[in-house]
């Protein structure tokens, strides 16, 4: 009997906890807004994001979006949490809608879906919550309360291809894609086009992993490529691309003279490539997801949320750029890359979106 009473007591405690917990939270929120309101005027603006299954620390795409959100938060004196800025990680496809819903219910002013995998979920939730504002990166959702941001990955990848072709000794270059999709297709098309612009005889080995998260698969693929004489690999595979870095670093550690390079993707991945005093990161094709995230947030804060509109970031908008190579690429090569960059920006070179 005593045990049963204990059980009853436990459930009562839990129930009470729920109710009291709810009270506590609302009090806190109320006092916080008052405090912050006194400190700064615009601080009642809040943003949050939902990652795809890569997680927030994928050293690439999701992380870049999160850095944009953090930067925006710090700039405006926000704190992490409700009423400031926050993120939720999705562990499976089924979590997207739930996570978006959770954030919308916490009254964030703009909720971002990061990655094309969230296209359908954002569409669904935007219909259900017509008063909330959403934004999607890498896909277009044509709804009045959704702002879409797209990138011309092909343009940045073209520059990466130019750099790779100019720097390759073995005249063999590798491309490692995540899952075959329109977005990754743009990386591939631009990269190959850039390589061919310098030297049509260079061989580009293209491999897809069918995964954005399987780093071990990325590592074996890189191993095979380097063994076959490839000296520069450009991975566009999210967290799976970290396996390419792992393989290159392993080879460099074993043999300091090994001629292996990786071109980082999405974020500046210089830190990823450090091997003792040397580094295997040639450069990075930086996709300024952080810039897109901040632009949308700033416009929304100013009261003109770009709902229903699509902004495309290319080389001309400085939305896709090559990161500082920190000496890995000599100046005359950099000058050549700059020429191509200018030509793309002026429209003289139009980079195709799909592989022909």
């Amino acid at each position: 009997m005593t045990k049963r009473k204990f059980g009853l007591g436990l459930s009562l405690v839990l129930a009470a906890g729920t109710i009291l917990g709810a009270c506590g939270a609302s009090d806190e929120e109320a006092s916080k807004t008052v405090d912050e309101g006194a400190k700064k005027e615009a601080t009642d603006f809040s943003i949050a994001m939902v990652t795809d299954t890569g997680g927030v620390d994928d050293k690439s795409f999701n992380q870049s979006a999160w850095e944009g959100i953090e930067a925006f938060g710090k700039e405006n004196g926000l704190e992490k949490g409700t009423g400031g800025y926050d993120y939720l990680i999705s562990t499976s496809d089924a979590d997207y809608v739930t996570n978006l819903n959770s954030l919308a219910r916490r009254d964030f002013d703009v909720v971002y879906g990061v990655g094309y995998l969230l296209e359908e979920p954002i569409g669904t939730i935007a219909d259900q919550k017509p008063d909330a504002q959403f934004a999607i990166i890498d896909a277009i959702v044509d709804k009045p309360n959704v702002a879409s941001a797209m990138f011309k990955e092909q343009e940045g990848s073209y520059l990466a291809g130019v750099a790779a072709a100019l720097m390759s000794d073995s005249k063999k270059i590798g491309f490692v894609g995540g899952m075959e999709s329109e977005v990754i297709g743009r990386f591939e098309a631009g990269f190959i086009e850039g390589v061919k612009a310098i030297d049509p005889n260079i061989e580009v080995d293209v491999q897809y992993l069918a995964s954005f998260s399987d780093a071990s698969l990325g590592k074996t693929t890189a191993n095979r490529m380097y063994s076959s004489g490839v000296d520069i690999i450009f991975p566009a595979a999210g967290a799976a691309g970290n396996g390419v870095f792992a393989e290159a670093k392993e080879r460099k550690t074993k043999d300091a003279n090994a001629n292996v390079w990786v071109i980082g993707v999405d974020s500046d991945q210089y830190e990823e490539g450090a091997v003792g005093d040397t580094n295997i990161t040639l450069t990075s094709m930086v996709k300024r997801v952080d810039l897109a995230v901040q632009n949308i947030a700033n416009e929304a804060m100013a009261g003109n949320f770009p709902g229903g509109k699509t902004v495309t970031y290319g080389v001309a908008e400085e939305g896709v750029v090559l990161a500082d190579s920190r000496g890995a690429i000599p100046q005359e090569v950099l000058d050549q890359i700059q020429e191509y960059s200018d030509k793309i920006a002026s429209g003289e070179i139009v980079v195709p979106e799909t592989v022909e």
Partner: protein
Amino acid sequence: MSNRVINILVPVISVILGLLVGAVIMLVSGYDPVKGYIALWNGIFGDAYNMGETVRQITPYLLSGLAVAFAFRTGLFNIGVEGQLIVGWFAAAYVGVAFDFPMYIHLPLAILAAAVAGGLWAFIPGLLKAKLQVHEVIVTIMMNYIALHTTNALIKVMSDGGDNTGTIHASASLKSAFFESMTDFSRLHYGIFIAIAMVVVMWFILEKTTTGFELKSVGFNQHASQYAGMNVQKNIILSMVISGVFAGLAGAMEALGTFQYASIKSGFTGIGFDGIAVALLGANTPLGIIFGATLFGALKYGALNMPNEAGIPVEIVSIVIAIIIFFVACGYVIRYFLEKTNKKKEAK
């Protein structure tokens, strides 16, 4: 202590132990366990939306649990539920997108397509096992990969290089406007009725039909069954096919209810693998599976709220949830200790 008290006490103690160890882990990693568990509770029962989503999450677990359990009763270990679920998912979505019929034909047809696809996918390992004694564990695991990448390729072809089949027609959808209005737009759908009906079907087949008796008999002892004049090969294939049908239906729940489409997957959904745990928690009985699926689905869904409300990272949450399930599964150990202390008292 009577047996009845012990039967009630074992699950209660195991859940409490699980919660306690989980709390220690949160505490050690610097998070507030009370806040964490309140967030878990709210994530499951917090409001109409969360309750609806919890039931939505339980639906496919019920069916994948049934699928594993059914094969188990015939002595077969169907690890291929995941693959059968994926082909069922695709088949249902394909029928939902490609055809346009009135609802009373379209919806049953889409569900049937999923069931047939799942059944066929399980038929192959069943056949190999029955005729050539190839172990079903190996075959079903490999069939999972074949299913994943084949459906990915098919979706690609279907969508002209896209990554999504597109949304199914409303006439094939299990979506419920009534549930939506009741639960603040949760994705709860009519599939839960199908899942519960299948629980009854499994009970009926196993307990009330000659076929069910034969299936169980083969599970207990193949040789004795053969000696008694049963066709062991036929029963092995039949058991795998029925198991596959349940798994295919679980896929239909995702295609026609939760998602309304099939998209290219970078990895397994995990629902099929979790089905193994659901079946074992439920001791492979229909009623037990309702309990197992509810526990699994509720914890899995409620856990999403822990990072959301209490700011605990997903990694810690996964550990805590796994520990709770671990302790529930170790019920036997707790029963052993209870009975031991009981005997000591009686001896005195």
